[in-house]
């Protein structure tokens, strides 16, 4: 269960969003929409705990969130299997076979990550989510550089995750084929910028 109440967050000292509230129950997915720069990534980083919120509350069980950023965090000299095994060990889960199978990476398991294509790297980055064993997936543009078949593959994986009681919060511009996912447009939550000159002196140093 993830509950966000009246959240405000900032990037680089500049308030971007305010008054964002939503809740996710097991089996639900929420897609964040909005124009570039409206604060989707910032909101996701807040929820993932990477940056503090300006105001508001995020209530979530500890150790429930698996975060996937723009970058996949792959080690280029390790093989596909070694990359996944590392994260499985970190999260204390066993078995990477299912993740390899579902993201169609089995044929690539012995290949070094530096020799993967952009889309294959992305698939590996998303396979990492499955080995975390965490119920809430926080995904930032998960489908970048994926082809149609892989997007469908990923849509199936997310659906499987939701069917198993998982939750997904994602920022994406394209249709994942998840009609059951709710959509939250962030544009109405844009923070009012302070009047020029009325801000505190500290802002000059942020």
């Amino acid at each position: 269960m993830l509950k966000v109440h009246d959240l405000a967050c900032a990037r680089g000292g500049l308030p971007l969003l305010e008054g964002v509230s939503f809740a996710l129950a097991p089996g639900q997915a929420l897609v964040l929409r909005g124009p570039n720069g409206c604060g989707k990534t910032t909101l996701l980083r807040c929820v993932a705990g990477l940056q503090p919120a300006l105001a508001g509350e995020i209530s979530v069980a500890p150790d429930a969130i698996a975060y996937a950023a723009h970058a996949d965090g792959l080690k280029s000299t390790l093989t596909v299997a070694e990359n996944l095994e590392f994260w499985a060990a970190i999260y204390g889960t066993a078995g990477i076979a299912q993740a390899l199978e579902q993201m169609n990476l089995r044929a690539l398991r012995a290949r070094a990550a530096q020799h993967l294509s952009a889309g294959q790297k992305r698939r590996l980055g998303l396979a990492r989510l499955m080995v975390t064993g965490r119920p809430i997936w926080v995904l930032d543009e998960p489908t970048v550089s994926l082809d149609h078949a892989s997007v469908a593959l990923f849509g199936d994986v997310v659906r499987g995750h939701l069917a198993g009681g998982g939750m997904a919060l994602m920022a994406t511009h394209i249709d994942l084929g998840l009609p059951e996912a709710e959509i939250l447009d962030l544009a109405p939550f844009k923070a009012r910028l302070p009047e020029p000159g009325s801000g505190t002196f500290d802002e000059a140093f942020l």
């Binding site: 990477l50 975060y67 996937a68 950023a69 970058a71 996949d72 965090g73 994260w87 970190i90 204390g92």
Partner: protein, 182 residues
């Protein structure tokens, strides 16, 4: 300085320790740079391992690949600089005790400058002053050992700096990493 054995033997303790310090400095900016660029630092920060432990392991890895080889080849370096025979043991011992502090302090500097483009120069400027106490006491151990004097005091101070750095700095490094990741 010339090749006179007398001069070389006199400056050897200082030169060897400065060499160790500079070698350490060379590799510091890569401790977190790659993890920051490929995004794994974000993922590690949200993973169920304490960031303090990540930082400590990073420092250990840096020491194993930089400090330990320096300790192992230091007798050869001593030979090149006509280090007096009785000083070898103290050279190895002082490097063994002192270089972990260089790695731990350096990891703190790397955490401070993570995300900065060309942060290596700033990193050197930040870290060098923090290295001075280790350098002073490390070279002092070797110099006193070469003269056959008691090395207990500088050795104890050297070990004290290392233990203090290992005990406290990982917390500081983890904190500045979290701030830098915001």
């Amino acid at each position: 300085m010339g090749p006179e054995p007398g001069t070389l033997a006199l400056i050897a303790p200082g030169i060897l320790w400065v060499g160790a310090l500079l070698a350490c400095l060379l590799s510091l900016d890569r401790i977190f740079a790659l993890d920051y660029e490929d995004g794994s630092l974000d993922l590690l920060a949200t993973a169920p391992v304490p960031l303090e432990a990540v930082v400590t392991i990073k420092a250990l890895a840096h020491w194993l690949t930089t400090g330990l080889p320096l300790v192992l080849i230091s007798p050869v370096m001593g030979l090149l600089l006509f280090l007096p025979g009785e000083a070898y043991l103290w050279l190895i011992l002082s490097l063994l005790l002192g270089t972990p502090a260089l790695s731990v302090i350096g990891t703190f500097g790397a955490a401070l400058t993570v995300g900065l483009k060309r942060g290596g120069l700033l990193l050197s400027l930040l870290v060098l002053p923090l290295y001075i106490p280790t350098l002073v006491f490390g070279a002092e151990v070797v110099a006193r050992g070469a003269q056959g004097l008691s090395t207990a005091t500088p050795l104890a101070l050297l070990a004290g700096i290392t233990l203090g750095a290992v005990a406290l700095l990982p917390f500081a490094s983890a904190l500045v990493l979290r701030i830098n990741l915001r």
